[in-house]
Symmetry: C2
Subunit: 332 residues, 2 copies
């Protein structure tokens, strides 16, 4: 009997190894097919190998493998304007019939006239008025439905396809690659948290609890016996610039070991992430590809990258050169 | 060759089933040994079986299996006072030498004189002064160190052991039991988020990113080249009563399917959780055990349970009768 038991144990162990083997084969297949074999890809792969190799001096326990990603310009296109701004402008038009006063009232008048310069002239305060008029007053469930409906019909003005198809294929692969190596991937965006959550899981594989963003205040109410959360026209938190490390700490409570951004709005997130002890990696998507997307950095209205471009070499942040490093920009 | 391949495939499948079999055996062993076989335990087990049985009408996908737990009085003792209040009082004493003015200044004077009635007389505003004086002004890392140091030396005044050993053993088992069934367990407490995160993982198996609580504002700063988050003496969010569903939505973005509380501070969390569509369970820890812990509900200063006690039967919330339902209260 003893030899049979031993035999079965060995069989069992071999089968377990086979399962593990298949799993690691899966990992290899989930690598980065849309990335050219340049410095950026090598830096990422080398970092991931170091932090995931047991016994390595740089090994990081899976629970501490937190990776944070900006959204606009890092995971999806932010040109010719932020997607959420396009949403707000469309919502003003959709709601105009209920607000006859908007015809004469800035910044709504400019939106309804299609006068983008007029909208811009209204400045930050005008933009906030647009956001509150279109993002507040409803329940969280109603807002989720509005976002989903808009995304199902709206089209990107240049690429003429749904915005959720204007996401960067190499970055999707990077998210998957990190998750296959037991990283927990988060979005940390200046955009609205509730604007991203309804689709981030389907598009990026990032569940609602791993989305961090700007928010307005919520109020708990029981309406006709049904508990709801009502969105109030009051800023709760701006998850941009120095707000990003705060948002990360509020929602995660650990310092990430990997951060990806593309603009100066991500500077503090990159700084906070890479200044931690132990192995860290910060990467910046540099929009260098005028042909397949848009080439922009220091002078751009949306996604301005100036300080980050100056400081990246000194800080050890890796610049991803879209034109050179990416085999494809969008999924076919 | 074909038959050998088939044979190997079958072997492989059997081994996979064996692995799964061992896993489910593990689940069975992780059941609720400190719970007597009463109505509460049965309601919990029946609920978990329904939502985790594939093909069941009540099946819930693992990603949606969100369980939220109050902390004070639900996971650990809140008598004779909230642990965090004991911490604040001890910190006032520890910091008194740096603040000679406190000797003559309410509510600090009362704290230093050991006059708890005087502390209580200072009301909510006085309590807030104590919290800000002891919880703000340092970095998040410094505060974490202070909390850990205090917990390593402080003793519960009645049980004479570390506060982290005054947690309810049956609730720890419940947390494990739910996680073994692919629930994601969260703390949702009126207590400070930063006061709980340093030890929640070791004590409850709940990582920092799954702790929700009250918070003060944070400010990002680079001090001598080192990025830090400084704790400001300003309330950011109160995660209590109607704040709990708001906190849940801010950090999780999904409605839980299971909620456990013990006081009227948990009423809205229970209401919000159990009013969702599909299977839901709300449970209330009712402190009925004067011998092994403290018997309290409607008249208690800490953890008052009045409205919840009235409405539990109508809402279908399960009352856990500590005296009857729990074989043990604390771990031996």
């Amino acid at each position: 009997m003893k030899s049979i038991c031993s035999f079965l144990k060995i069989r069992f162990l071999i089968a377990c190894l086979a399962v593990l083997g298949l799993a690691s084969l899966g990992f290899a297949q989930q690598s980065l097919p849309s990335w050219n074999d340049g410095a950026a890809r090598q830096a990422i792969e080398s970092f991931v190998e170091r932090v995931t190799t047991p016994g390595s001096a740089d090994f990081v326990a899976p629970a501490e493998r937190i990776a944070v990603f900006d959204n606009d310009g890092t995971l999806w296109s932010e040109q010719p304007m932020y997607v959420q701004l396009a949403f707000a402008l469309d919502r003003v038009k959709a709601l105009a019939a209920e607000h006859p006063e908007w015809k004469e009232q800035a910044p709504f008048k400019a939106v309804l006239a299609g006068d983008l310069k007029g909208v811009a002239a209204a400045g930050e305060r005008g933009l906030m008025e647009l956001v509150m008029a279109t993002h507040a007053g409803m329940t969280t469930e109603e807002f989720e439905r509005i976002v989903k409906e808009w995304l199902s019909t709206a089209r990107h003005p240049v690429y003429q396809r749904p915005y959720t198809e204007c996401v960067y294929q190499p970055m999707r692969e990077l998210l998957e690659y990190l998750r296959a190596h037991q990283f927990k991937t988060y979005i940390v965006s200046g955009g609205g948290i509730e604007f991203m959550r309804p689709w981030a899981e389907a598009v990026y594989g990032i569940p609602p609890e791993q989305v961090i963003g700007s928010s307005i205040k919520l109020k708990y109410e029981v309406r006709e016996g049904r508990p709801v959360l009502v969105r109030l026209p009051e800023v709760d938190f701006i998850d941009d610039k120095a707000g990003k490390p705060v948002g990360i700490h509020r929602l995660i409570g650990r310092r990430p070991i990997f951060a990806a951004g593309n603009s100066d709005g991500d500077y503090e997130m990159l700084e906070y992430t890479t200044a931690g002890s132990g192995p860290r990696l910060g990467v910046i998507v540099h929009h260098t590809d005028a042909e397949r997307e848009v080439a922009y950095d220091r002078a751009s209205v949306f996604g301005r990258l100036d300080r980050g471009l100056n400081d990246a070499p000194g800080k050890g942040w890796i610049l991803i050169n879209m034109k050179q490093d990416w085999r494809a920009v969008f999924a076919k």
